[in-house]
C-alpha cells in the first residue's frame, strides 16, 4: 500500500516539475543561432547575446495562459490529494485529485498543439522545453486516471 502511494506521489511530483521546467525555460525552439520560448526570444551571435520579448500575438498569449493554468491545476491537484488522503472516508475515490490532474493534462495538450500548429516558421528545430511539454501530457493523463481508479483503504 505504501509503495503504491509513494509511486503515485512520485509520478505526480515528476509531472509538476516537468510542467514548471517546460513553462519557464527558454528552449521551445532552439538551434545554434538562438532560442526562443513563450516569453523571450534570444539571439546569440558571436560576441553578442540579445534577448527581446516574444511576439504579442494572440496564439502565444493563449499558450502562455494554458501552460500556467496547467501548472496551477497540477499544484491544486497535489493539494487535493494531500487533503483527500487524510479526510476521505474508507473506500472512497480521489475524485477531486483526478479531475484537476486530467484538466491539467488537457491544458498541456491544448498548449502543445497550438504551439505546434502556429509556431514561427523559420525552420528552427524544437528545443527540450517543447519535448518536455509533450511528455508531460501523457504522464499527467496517466496520473489522473490512476487517481480515478485508486481507492482509499483506511
Amino acid at each position: 500500500m505504501l509503495c503504491i502511494l509513494l509511486g503515485v506521489l512520485a509520478l505526480h511530483l515528476l509531472v509538476f516539475i516537468l510542467l514548471i521546467v517546460s513553462t519557464a525555460s527558454s528552449q521551445w525552439v532552439a538551434d545554434e543561432k538562438g532560442h526562443s520560448d513563450l516569453w523571450y526570444s534570444c539571439l546569440s551571435e558571436p560576441k553578442a547575446y540579445s534577448c527581446s520579448q516574444a511576439s504579442n500575438e494572440d496564439w502565444i498569449q493563449a499558450v502562455q495562459a494554458l501552460m500556467i493554468l496547467a501548472v496551477v491545476f497540477c499544484f491544486v491537484s497535489l493539494l487535493a490529494f494531500a487533503y483527500q488522503l487524510f479526510r476521505l472516508f474508507k473506500g472512497g475515490r480521489f475524485y477531486f485529485t483526478s479531475i484537476f490532474q486530467i484538466l491539467a493534462s488537457v491544458f498541456v495538450m491544448c498548449a502543445a498543439i497550438i504551439y505546434t500548429v502556429m509556431r514561427p516558421s523559420n525552420g528552427k528545430g524544437f528545443g527540450y522545453s517543447y519535448v518536455l511539454a509533450w511528455v508531460a501530457f501523457p504522464l499527467s493523463l496517466i496520473s489522473g486516471l490512476i487517481y480515478l481508479i485508486l481507492r482509499k483503504k483506511d
Binding site: 498569449q61 493563449a62 495562459a65 494554458l66 496551477v72
Partner: protein, 198 residues
C-alpha cells in the same frame, strides 16, 4: 508650550535661507494612441515647497530619429502659451491645473508624424534643480494587443469558473443537508446524522 514651539518653527522656516531643493518630474513612460484621436499627456511634479506663483511647465517635442527638440507648450506667470507656428499649430492645448501640480497638455488630431518623445520640464522656484521627464508617443492605425492581456483574461476566466463551480458545489451540499431533499448524491454527504424535525 506647544504654541511656542509652533511659532518658533514657523519663524525659523521663514528666515531660513531660501536654499533650492530638488524637484522630481513625473510623466507616463509610453502612450499609445490611434491616428486622428486626441491624447492627453500628463505631467506632475513633487516638490517640498508649496506651489509658488512662478511655477512653470515647458513641453518639448523631439521627433523619432531627430536630435533637436522644439518647444510646443509653456506655462509661466499664470499664463499658458502654446505652439502657433510649427507642426502643432492649433493642436496643443494646456489642460493642466498648475496650482495642483498638474501640467498636462492635450494634443488633438494625431498623425503618424507625431511619433516621438515629449519632454516635460517643471520648475517651482526656488526648487529648480531637477531632471525633465519624457513620455514616448506611439501612433497606430489599429491598436495592437498588449502583451499579457489575453493571457490574463484566459487565466482569470478559467480560475473564476473553477471558484464558481466549487462554490455552487458546496452550496448544493449545504442545501441538501438543510432541507429534506432526496438527491442521488445525498448518500455521499458527510456530516452528522439527519433528523426530520417536526
Amino acid at each position: 508650550m506647544l504654541r511656542v514651539l509652533a511659532l518658533a518653527s514657523v519663524v525659523l522656516l521663514g528666515i531660513a535661507p531660501q536654499a533650492s531643493q530638488a524637484i522630481t518630474v513625473y510623466t507616463s513612460w509610453e502612450r499609445h494612441a490611434l491616428v486622428g484621436s486626441d491624447v492627453r499627456l500628463s505631467c506632475s511634479f513633487f516638490s517640498w515647497r508649496f506651489v509658488s506663483e512662478d511655477v512653470s511647465f515647458t513641453w518639448r517635442y523631439r521627433p523619432d530619429g531627430s536630435r533637436d527638440s522644439v518647444s510646443i507648450a509653456h506655462y509661466a506667470g499664470g499664463e499658458p502659451y502654446t505652439d502657433n507656428k510649427g507642426a502643432f499649430k492649433d493642436r496643443v492645448e494646456f489642460v493642466g491645473n498648475p496650482k495642483r501640480r498638474d501640467g498636462s497638455i492635450l494634443i488633438k488630431n494625431l498623425d503618424f508624424s507625431d511619433n516621438g518623445t515629449f519632454t516635460c520640464d517643471a520648475k517651482n522656484p526656488p526648487d529648480i534643480v531637477g531632471r525633465p521627464s519624457s513620455v514616448r508617443l506611439l501612433v497606430f492605425e489599429t491598436l495592437p494587443i498588449q502583451a499579457g492581456v489575453i493571457t490574463g483574461a484566459i487565466i482569470g476566466v478559467v480560475l473564476g469558473l473553477l471558484v464558481l463551480i466549487v462554490v455552487i458545489y458546496y452550496l448544493m451540499r449545504f442545501l441538501v443537508a438543510r432541507r429534506v431533499f432526496s438527491l442521488s448524491v445525498s448518500r455521499n454527504v458527510e456530516g452528522p446524522q439527519l433528523c426530520i424535525l417536526p
